[in-house]
Amino acid sequence: MAVDVRNRIAKRAAKEIHDGLIVNLGIGIPTLVADHIPQDIHVLFHAENGVLGTGPSPDPGKEDPALCNAGGFPITTVMGASYFDSATAFGMIRKGYIDITILGALEVSEKGDLANWIVPGKRVPGMGGAMELAQKAKKVIVLMNHVNKQGESKILKTCTLPLTARQSVDVIITDMAVMEVTEEGLVLKEVMAPYTVDDVLRNTEATLKIHAAVNTIE
Protein backbone atom coordinates (compact mmCIF):
# COMPACT_ATOMS: atom_id res chain seq x y z
CA MET A 1 0.00 0.00 0.00
CA ALA A 2 1.30 3.44 -0.88
CA VAL A 3 2.58 5.62 1.95
CA ASP A 4 -0.07 8.31 1.37
CA VAL A 5 -2.86 5.71 1.52
CA ARG A 6 -1.46 4.27 4.74
CA ASN A 7 -1.26 7.76 6.23
CA ARG A 8 -4.77 8.56 5.08
CA ILE A 9 -6.12 5.51 6.94
CA ALA A 10 -4.02 6.39 10.00
CA LYS A 11 -5.23 9.99 9.93
CA ARG A 12 -8.86 8.87 9.90
CA ALA A 13 -8.19 6.43 12.74
CA ALA A 14 -6.64 9.21 14.82
CA LYS A 15 -10.06 10.93 14.87
CA GLU A 16 -11.38 8.07 17.00
CA ILE A 17 -8.93 8.95 19.76
CA HIS A 18 -10.11 11.42 22.38
CA ASP A 19 -8.42 13.22 25.23
CA GLY A 20 -7.51 11.10 28.24
CA LEU A 21 -7.76 7.65 26.65
CA ILE A 22 -5.42 4.66 27.04
CA VAL A 23 -4.52 3.36 23.58
CA ASN A 24 -2.59 0.34 22.30
CA LEU A 25 -1.34 0.52 18.71
CA GLY A 26 -0.49 -2.60 16.74
CA ILE A 27 2.34 -2.98 14.24
CA GLY A 28 2.10 -1.57 10.68
CA ILE A 29 -0.42 1.15 9.77
CA PRO A 30 -1.65 1.37 13.41
CA THR A 31 1.82 2.60 14.46
CA LEU A 32 1.36 5.62 12.15
CA VAL A 33 -1.77 6.74 14.02
CA ALA A 34 0.31 8.39 16.76
CA ASP A 35 1.68 10.87 14.19
CA HIS A 36 -1.83 12.15 13.41
CA ILE A 37 -3.09 12.91 16.89
CA PRO A 38 -3.46 16.67 17.52
CA GLN A 39 -1.05 18.23 20.04
CA ASP A 40 -3.85 19.26 22.41
CA ILE A 41 -5.09 15.69 22.83
CA HIS A 42 -3.32 13.78 25.58
CA VAL A 43 -3.39 10.01 25.47
CA LEU A 44 -1.31 7.36 27.18
CA PHE A 45 -0.01 4.78 24.75
CA HIS A 46 0.28 1.28 26.17
CA ALA A 47 2.84 -1.14 24.75
CA GLU A 48 2.39 -4.76 25.82
CA ASN A 49 6.13 -5.32 26.27
CA GLY A 50 5.81 -3.34 29.47
CA VAL A 51 5.35 0.41 29.23
CA LEU A 52 2.46 2.82 29.67
CA GLY A 53 3.22 6.25 28.24
CA THR A 54 5.32 5.74 25.12
CA GLY A 55 6.55 8.87 23.35
CA PRO A 56 7.96 9.68 19.91
CA SER A 57 10.95 7.90 18.37
CA PRO A 58 14.28 9.08 19.79
CA ASP A 59 16.67 11.18 17.72
CA PRO A 60 19.29 9.11 15.85
CA GLY A 61 22.09 8.19 18.22
CA LYS A 62 19.86 8.56 21.30
CA GLU A 63 18.30 5.07 21.05
CA ASP A 64 18.24 2.99 24.24
CA PRO A 65 18.21 -0.76 23.46
CA ALA A 66 16.39 -1.32 26.78
CA LEU A 67 13.53 0.98 25.73
CA CYS A 68 11.56 -0.36 22.78
CA ASN A 69 7.96 -0.78 21.71
CA ALA A 70 6.27 -4.12 21.04
CA GLY A 71 7.52 -3.98 17.46
CA GLY A 72 11.11 -3.89 18.71
CA PHE A 73 11.78 -0.28 17.74
CA PRO A 74 13.33 2.30 20.08
CA ILE A 75 10.94 4.73 21.75
CA THR A 76 10.96 7.48 24.33
CA THR A 77 8.52 7.96 27.18
CA VAL A 78 6.25 10.84 28.18
CA MET A 79 5.89 12.42 31.60
CA GLY A 80 4.07 10.03 33.95
CA ALA A 81 5.14 6.89 32.12
CA SER A 82 5.59 3.59 33.95
CA TYR A 83 7.35 0.27 33.31
CA PHE A 84 6.12 -3.17 34.33
CA ASP A 85 6.56 -6.86 33.56
CA SER A 86 4.57 -8.80 30.96
CA ALA A 87 2.09 -10.25 33.47
CA THR A 88 1.14 -6.73 34.57
CA ALA A 89 1.07 -5.49 30.97
CA PHE A 90 -1.56 -8.11 30.15
CA GLY A 91 -3.31 -7.78 33.49
CA MET A 92 -4.17 -4.23 32.41
CA ILE A 93 -5.50 -5.50 29.10
CA ARG A 94 -7.58 -8.35 30.55
CA LYS A 95 -9.05 -6.12 33.24
CA GLY A 96 -10.35 -3.79 30.54
CA TYR A 97 -8.15 -0.73 31.07
CA ILE A 98 -7.31 -0.30 27.38
CA ASP A 99 -9.85 2.12 25.90
CA ILE A 100 -8.90 1.62 22.27
CA THR A 101 -6.78 -0.91 20.45
CA ILE A 102 -5.93 -0.40 16.77
CA LEU A 103 -4.94 -3.55 14.88
CA GLY A 104 -4.37 -4.87 11.39
CA ALA A 105 -6.44 -7.77 10.05
CA LEU A 106 -6.56 -10.51 7.44
CA GLU A 107 -10.36 -10.82 7.58
CA VAL A 108 -13.22 -9.24 9.52
CA SER A 109 -16.79 -10.52 9.54
CA GLU A 110 -19.96 -8.43 9.53
CA LYS A 111 -20.51 -9.52 13.16
CA GLY A 112 -17.10 -8.15 14.13
CA ASP A 113 -15.20 -11.45 14.22
CA LEU A 114 -11.48 -10.82 13.72
CA ALA A 115 -8.92 -13.06 11.99
CA ASN A 116 -5.36 -11.74 12.06
CA TRP A 117 -2.93 -14.34 13.38
CA ILE A 118 -2.70 -17.37 11.15
CA VAL A 119 -3.09 -18.58 7.57
CA PRO A 120 -2.91 -22.34 8.18
CA GLY A 121 -0.15 -24.00 6.18
CA LYS A 122 1.08 -20.69 4.79
CA ARG A 123 1.82 -18.06 7.39
CA VAL A 124 1.86 -18.99 11.05
CA PRO A 125 3.32 -16.08 13.02
CA GLY A 126 1.30 -16.72 16.19
CA MET A 127 -1.20 -14.55 17.98
CA GLY A 128 1.21 -12.58 20.16
CA GLY A 129 -0.97 -10.32 22.28
CA ALA A 130 -3.73 -9.90 19.68
CA MET A 131 -6.25 -12.22 21.37
CA GLU A 132 -6.13 -10.33 24.65
CA LEU A 133 -6.27 -6.93 22.94
CA ALA A 134 -9.12 -7.82 20.57
CA GLN A 135 -11.18 -9.56 23.23
CA LYS A 136 -10.62 -7.13 26.09
CA ALA A 137 -10.09 -3.58 24.79
CA LYS A 138 -13.20 -1.41 25.14
CA LYS A 139 -13.06 -0.42 21.47
CA VAL A 140 -11.36 -2.35 18.68
CA ILE A 141 -10.51 -0.52 15.46
CA VAL A 142 -9.19 -2.46 12.46
CA LEU A 143 -7.07 -0.75 9.82
CA MET A 144 -6.48 -2.66 6.60
CA ASN A 145 -6.79 -2.83 2.85
CA HIS A 146 -10.39 -3.34 1.77
CA VAL A 147 -9.40 -6.24 -0.51
CA ASN A 148 -6.58 -8.78 -0.46
CA LYS A 149 -3.81 -9.21 -3.05
CA GLN A 150 -6.17 -11.30 -5.19
CA GLY A 151 -8.67 -8.44 -5.15
CA GLU A 152 -11.10 -10.34 -2.88
CA SER A 153 -13.04 -8.67 -0.09
CA LYS A 154 -11.45 -8.94 3.37
CA ILE A 155 -14.80 -7.99 4.91
CA LEU A 156 -16.90 -11.14 4.89
CA LYS A 157 -20.21 -12.56 6.06
CA THR A 158 -18.18 -15.18 7.94
CA CYS A 159 -14.41 -15.36 8.36
CA THR A 160 -12.70 -18.29 6.64
CA LEU A 161 -9.46 -18.10 8.67
CA PRO A 162 -9.10 -19.15 12.32
CA LEU A 163 -10.32 -16.34 14.56
CA THR A 164 -8.38 -14.10 16.89
CA ALA A 165 -11.56 -13.12 18.75
CA ARG A 166 -15.30 -13.37 18.18
CA GLN A 167 -17.55 -10.30 17.86
CA SER A 168 -14.81 -7.95 18.93
CA VAL A 169 -14.33 -5.38 16.16
CA ASP A 170 -16.19 -2.05 16.48
CA VAL A 171 -14.87 0.00 13.56
CA ILE A 172 -13.19 -0.95 10.27
CA ILE A 173 -11.19 1.68 8.39
CA THR A 174 -9.88 0.72 4.94
CA ASP A 175 -8.46 2.49 1.91
CA MET A 176 -12.06 2.66 0.60
CA ALA A 177 -14.38 3.17 3.54
CA VAL A 178 -15.20 3.50 7.24
CA MET A 179 -17.66 0.93 8.59
CA GLU A 180 -19.14 0.33 12.03
CA VAL A 181 -20.24 -2.98 13.48
CA THR A 182 -23.65 -2.37 15.08
CA GLU A 183 -26.45 -4.49 16.55
CA GLU A 184 -28.23 -4.08 13.21
CA GLY A 185 -25.22 -5.24 11.22
CA LEU A 186 -22.28 -3.67 9.44
CA VAL A 187 -22.97 -0.05 8.52
CA LEU A 188 -21.12 1.98 5.87
CA LYS A 189 -20.53 5.43 7.39
CA GLU A 190 -17.90 7.07 5.18
CA VAL A 191 -16.23 6.53 1.84
CA MET A 192 -12.69 7.59 0.93
CA ALA A 193 -12.62 9.65 -2.29
CA PRO A 194 -12.37 8.85 -5.16
CA TYR A 195 -14.27 5.69 -4.22
CA THR A 196 -18.07 5.74 -4.26
CA VAL A 197 -20.68 3.83 -2.28
CA ASP A 198 -21.07 1.55 -5.30
CA ASP A 199 -17.32 0.83 -5.36
CA VAL A 200 -17.45 -0.14 -1.71
CA LEU A 201 -20.49 -2.37 -2.14
CA ARG A 202 -18.90 -4.07 -5.14
CA ASN A 203 -15.78 -4.87 -3.13
CA THR A 204 -17.51 -6.04 0.05
CA GLU A 205 -18.69 -9.62 0.46
CA ALA A 206 -20.39 -8.89 3.80
CA THR A 207 -23.89 -7.47 3.92
CA LEU A 208 -23.39 -3.74 4.22
CA LYS A 209 -26.09 -1.36 5.41
CA ILE A 210 -25.70 2.16 4.10
CA HIS A 211 -25.92 4.94 6.64
CA ALA A 212 -28.55 7.61 5.91
CA ALA A 213 -25.82 10.21 5.43
CA VAL A 214 -22.59 8.69 4.11
CA ASN A 215 -19.74 11.18 4.35
CA THR A 216 -17.02 11.36 1.76
CA ILE A 217 -13.46 11.81 3.01
CA GLU A 218 -11.61 13.94 0.46
Binding site: N49, C68, G72, P125, E132
Partner: protein, 232 residues
Amino acid sequence: MKQAITKKNKIVTMEEALEHISDGCTLMYGGFGGVGTPPTLVQGILAKGVKELTLIGNDTGFPDIGIGRLVTAERAKKVIASHIGSNPNAGRLMTEGKLQVEFSPQGTLAERIRAGGVGLGGIFVDVGIGTIAEDGKDKMVIDGKEFLVETALTSEVSIVYAKKADSLGNLVYDKTACNFNPLVAMAGAFTIAEVEEIVPAGELDPECIATPGIYVDMVIPTKGVNWKWAWQ
Protein backbone atom coordinates in the same frame (compact mmCIF):
# COMPACT_ATOMS: atom_id res chain seq x y z
CA MET B 1 23.86 -0.91 60.86
CA LYS B 2 22.49 -4.04 59.25
CA GLN B 3 24.89 -6.85 58.59
CA ALA B 4 24.97 -7.83 54.91
CA ILE B 5 24.48 -11.54 54.39
CA THR B 6 27.42 -12.86 52.41
CA LYS B 7 27.46 -16.54 53.24
CA LYS B 8 26.53 -17.51 49.68
CA ASN B 9 28.12 -15.79 46.75
CA LYS B 10 26.16 -16.58 43.60
CA ILE B 11 28.56 -14.90 41.18
CA VAL B 12 30.08 -17.54 38.89
CA THR B 13 31.83 -17.81 35.54
CA MET B 14 30.00 -18.55 32.33
CA GLU B 15 31.59 -22.02 32.23
CA GLU B 16 30.17 -22.85 35.66
CA ALA B 17 26.75 -21.61 34.59
CA LEU B 18 26.78 -23.59 31.34
CA GLU B 19 27.37 -26.85 33.25
CA HIS B 20 23.67 -26.67 34.11
CA ILE B 21 22.45 -26.39 30.52
CA SER B 22 22.58 -29.66 28.62
CA ASP B 23 21.05 -31.44 25.62
CA GLY B 24 17.31 -31.97 25.81
CA CYS B 25 16.66 -29.64 28.70
CA THR B 26 13.68 -27.35 29.07
CA LEU B 27 15.06 -23.83 28.84
CA MET B 28 12.94 -20.81 29.67
CA TYR B 29 14.22 -17.38 28.66
CA GLY B 30 13.34 -13.77 29.26
CA GLY B 31 13.11 -11.20 26.50
CA PHE B 32 10.76 -9.64 23.99
CA GLY B 33 12.06 -9.50 20.42
CA GLY B 34 15.52 -10.05 21.88
CA VAL B 35 15.28 -7.05 24.23
CA GLY B 36 16.06 -8.48 27.66
CA THR B 37 17.35 -11.84 26.40
CA PRO B 38 20.79 -12.67 27.87
CA PRO B 39 23.22 -12.42 24.93
CA THR B 40 26.28 -13.97 26.60
CA LEU B 41 24.41 -17.06 27.80
CA VAL B 42 22.87 -17.53 24.34
CA GLN B 43 26.37 -17.30 22.87
CA GLY B 44 27.66 -19.78 25.45
CA ILE B 45 24.87 -22.27 24.73
CA LEU B 46 25.62 -21.98 21.01
CA ALA B 47 29.35 -22.47 21.54
CA LYS B 48 28.83 -25.43 23.88
CA GLY B 49 26.79 -27.12 21.17
CA VAL B 50 23.71 -27.74 23.34
CA LYS B 51 20.85 -29.19 21.26
CA GLU B 52 17.35 -30.70 21.43
CA LEU B 53 16.18 -27.86 23.66
CA THR B 54 12.59 -27.18 24.57
CA LEU B 55 12.43 -23.39 24.61
CA ILE B 56 9.76 -21.47 26.52
CA GLY B 57 9.51 -17.72 26.12
CA ASN B 58 7.52 -14.93 24.52
CA ASP B 59 8.85 -15.14 20.97
CA THR B 60 11.65 -16.57 18.84
CA GLY B 61 13.44 -13.26 18.46
CA PHE B 62 14.89 -12.39 15.09
CA PRO B 63 17.12 -14.72 12.99
CA ASP B 64 20.34 -13.31 14.50
CA ILE B 65 18.95 -11.66 17.64
CA GLY B 66 18.18 -13.08 21.07
CA ILE B 67 16.95 -16.64 21.43
CA GLY B 68 16.45 -16.55 17.65
CA ARG B 69 20.11 -17.46 17.28
CA LEU B 70 19.49 -20.87 18.90
CA VAL B 71 16.39 -21.43 16.76
CA THR B 72 18.27 -20.48 13.58
CA ALA B 73 21.09 -22.90 14.51
CA GLU B 74 18.46 -25.66 14.90
CA ARG B 75 19.23 -26.22 18.59
CA ALA B 76 15.57 -26.44 19.58
CA LYS B 77 13.16 -29.33 19.06
CA LYS B 78 10.18 -27.50 20.54
CA VAL B 79 9.13 -23.94 21.29
CA ILE B 80 6.30 -22.71 23.48
CA ALA B 81 5.75 -19.04 22.58
CA SER B 82 3.15 -16.47 21.62
CA HIS B 83 4.81 -15.29 18.43
CA ILE B 84 7.40 -16.57 15.94
CA GLY B 85 6.68 -14.14 13.10
CA SER B 86 9.83 -12.01 13.46
CA ASN B 87 12.07 -15.06 12.93
CA PRO B 88 11.28 -16.66 9.54
CA ASN B 89 13.60 -19.57 10.41
CA ALA B 90 11.18 -20.66 13.12
CA GLY B 91 8.29 -20.82 10.65
CA ARG B 92 10.44 -22.60 8.06
CA LEU B 93 11.67 -25.24 10.54
CA MET B 94 8.10 -25.75 11.75
CA THR B 95 6.92 -26.31 8.16
CA GLU B 96 9.82 -28.73 7.57
CA GLY B 97 8.79 -30.69 10.65
CA LYS B 98 12.04 -29.92 12.47
CA LEU B 99 10.53 -27.70 15.13
CA GLN B 100 7.40 -28.30 17.15
CA VAL B 101 5.64 -25.04 18.01
CA GLU B 102 2.98 -24.59 20.67
CA PHE B 103 1.30 -21.18 20.75
CA SER B 104 -0.12 -19.52 23.81
CA PRO B 105 -1.69 -16.04 23.78
CA GLN B 106 0.92 -13.67 25.18
CA GLY B 107 -0.86 -12.70 28.37
CA THR B 108 -1.86 -16.29 29.01
CA LEU B 109 1.75 -17.37 28.46
CA ALA B 110 2.97 -14.76 30.95
CA GLU B 111 0.46 -15.96 33.57
CA ARG B 112 1.24 -19.64 32.93
CA ILE B 113 4.92 -18.90 33.58
CA ARG B 114 4.06 -16.79 36.62
CA ALA B 115 1.82 -19.60 37.90
CA GLY B 116 4.70 -22.06 37.52
CA GLY B 117 6.91 -19.66 39.44
CA VAL B 118 4.56 -19.22 42.38
CA GLY B 119 3.58 -22.82 42.96
CA LEU B 120 0.21 -22.92 41.17
CA GLY B 121 -0.98 -25.75 38.95
CA GLY B 122 -2.61 -23.47 36.41
CA ILE B 123 -4.91 -20.53 35.84
CA PHE B 124 -8.44 -19.83 34.55
CA VAL B 125 -8.55 -17.48 31.55
CA ASP B 126 -11.35 -16.55 29.14
CA VAL B 127 -8.97 -15.27 26.44
CA GLY B 128 -9.18 -17.42 23.32
CA ILE B 129 -12.64 -18.87 23.99
CA GLY B 130 -14.38 -19.32 20.66
CA THR B 131 -11.06 -19.71 18.81
CA ILE B 132 -8.73 -22.64 18.10
CA ALA B 133 -6.74 -21.53 21.18
CA GLU B 134 -9.30 -23.41 23.27
CA ASP B 135 -8.74 -26.74 21.48
CA GLY B 136 -7.88 -29.58 23.82
CA LYS B 137 -8.25 -27.49 26.96
CA ASP B 138 -10.57 -28.16 29.89
CA LYS B 139 -13.17 -25.56 30.74
CA MET B 140 -14.37 -24.34 34.07
CA VAL B 141 -17.49 -22.35 34.89
CA ILE B 142 -17.00 -19.84 37.68
CA ASP B 143 -19.94 -17.63 38.72
CA GLY B 144 -21.69 -18.53 35.48
CA LYS B 145 -18.76 -17.49 33.30
CA GLU B 146 -16.72 -19.89 31.21
CA PHE B 147 -12.93 -20.05 31.50
CA LEU B 148 -10.20 -22.16 29.95
CA VAL B 149 -7.96 -24.13 32.27
CA GLU B 150 -4.41 -23.13 31.31
CA THR B 151 -1.63 -25.21 32.84
CA ALA B 152 1.37 -23.72 34.63
CA LEU B 153 4.78 -23.73 32.95
CA THR B 154 8.10 -24.40 34.65
CA SER B 155 11.60 -25.06 33.38
CA GLU B 156 14.65 -27.07 34.30
CA VAL B 157 16.75 -23.98 33.65
CA SER B 158 15.67 -20.35 33.28
CA ILE B 159 17.95 -17.69 31.84
CA VAL B 160 17.24 -14.02 32.46
CA TYR B 161 18.83 -10.64 31.82
CA ALA B 162 18.94 -7.81 34.32
CA LYS B 163 20.53 -4.41 34.80
CA LYS B 164 22.02 -5.11 38.22
CA ALA B 165 22.51 -7.97 40.61
CA ASP B 166 24.09 -8.29 44.02
CA SER B 167 26.02 -11.31 45.28
CA LEU B 168 22.77 -12.79 46.65
CA GLY B 169 21.15 -12.76 43.23
CA ASN B 170 18.73 -9.92 43.88
CA LEU B 171 17.86 -8.42 40.49
CA VAL B 172 16.96 -4.96 39.20
CA TYR B 173 15.68 -4.65 35.63
CA ASP B 174 15.93 -1.90 33.04
CA LYS B 175 12.82 -0.35 31.43
CA THR B 176 11.26 -2.60 28.76
CA ALA B 177 14.12 -5.10 29.05
CA CYS B 178 12.17 -6.36 32.08
CA ASN B 179 9.22 -7.96 30.20
CA PHE B 180 9.09 -11.73 30.87
CA ASN B 181 12.30 -11.83 32.94
CA PRO B 182 10.90 -11.63 36.50
CA LEU B 183 8.32 -14.33 35.64
CA VAL B 184 10.88 -16.58 33.95
CA ALA B 185 13.27 -16.16 36.89
CA MET B 186 10.61 -17.52 39.27
CA ALA B 187 9.60 -20.47 37.09
CA GLY B 188 13.02 -22.10 36.79
CA ALA B 189 14.09 -25.08 38.88
CA PHE B 190 17.50 -23.52 38.34
CA THR B 191 17.81 -19.86 37.35
CA ILE B 192 20.82 -18.11 35.87
CA ALA B 193 20.90 -14.33 35.61
CA GLU B 194 23.17 -12.43 33.23
CA VAL B 195 23.63 -8.86 34.37
CA GLU B 196 25.25 -5.58 33.35
CA GLU B 197 26.53 -4.70 36.81
CA ILE B 198 27.28 -6.72 39.94
CA VAL B 199 27.35 -5.02 43.33
CA PRO B 200 27.97 -6.30 46.88
CA ALA B 201 24.94 -7.41 48.89
CA GLY B 202 23.38 -4.43 50.60
CA GLU B 203 24.11 -1.99 47.79
CA LEU B 204 20.77 -2.41 46.00
CA ASP B 205 17.78 -0.49 47.31
CA PRO B 206 15.42 -3.25 48.54
CA GLU B 207 12.47 -1.21 47.15
CA CYS B 208 13.88 -1.54 43.63
CA ILE B 209 14.53 -5.29 43.63
CA ALA B 210 12.05 -6.90 41.23
CA THR B 211 13.36 -10.45 41.59
CA PRO B 212 14.38 -11.46 45.11
CA GLY B 213 17.60 -13.45 45.09
CA ILE B 214 15.82 -16.53 46.44
CA TYR B 215 14.76 -17.21 42.84
CA VAL B 216 18.26 -16.88 41.42
CA ASP B 217 20.92 -19.60 41.65
CA MET B 218 23.76 -18.11 39.64
CA VAL B 219 24.79 -14.70 38.34
CA ILE B 220 27.22 -14.02 35.52
CA PRO B 221 28.43 -10.68 34.17
CA THR B 222 27.32 -9.91 30.62
CA LYS B 223 29.77 -9.34 27.78
CA GLY B 224 27.11 -7.22 26.12
CA VAL B 225 24.90 -7.61 23.09
CA ASN B 226 26.77 -9.26 20.20
CA TRP B 227 24.09 -8.72 17.58
CA LYS B 228 22.83 -5.73 15.59
CA TRP B 229 19.28 -4.64 16.45
CA ALA B 230 16.68 -4.59 13.68
CA TRP B 231 16.64 -0.79 13.81
CA GLN B 232 20.43 -0.38 13.55
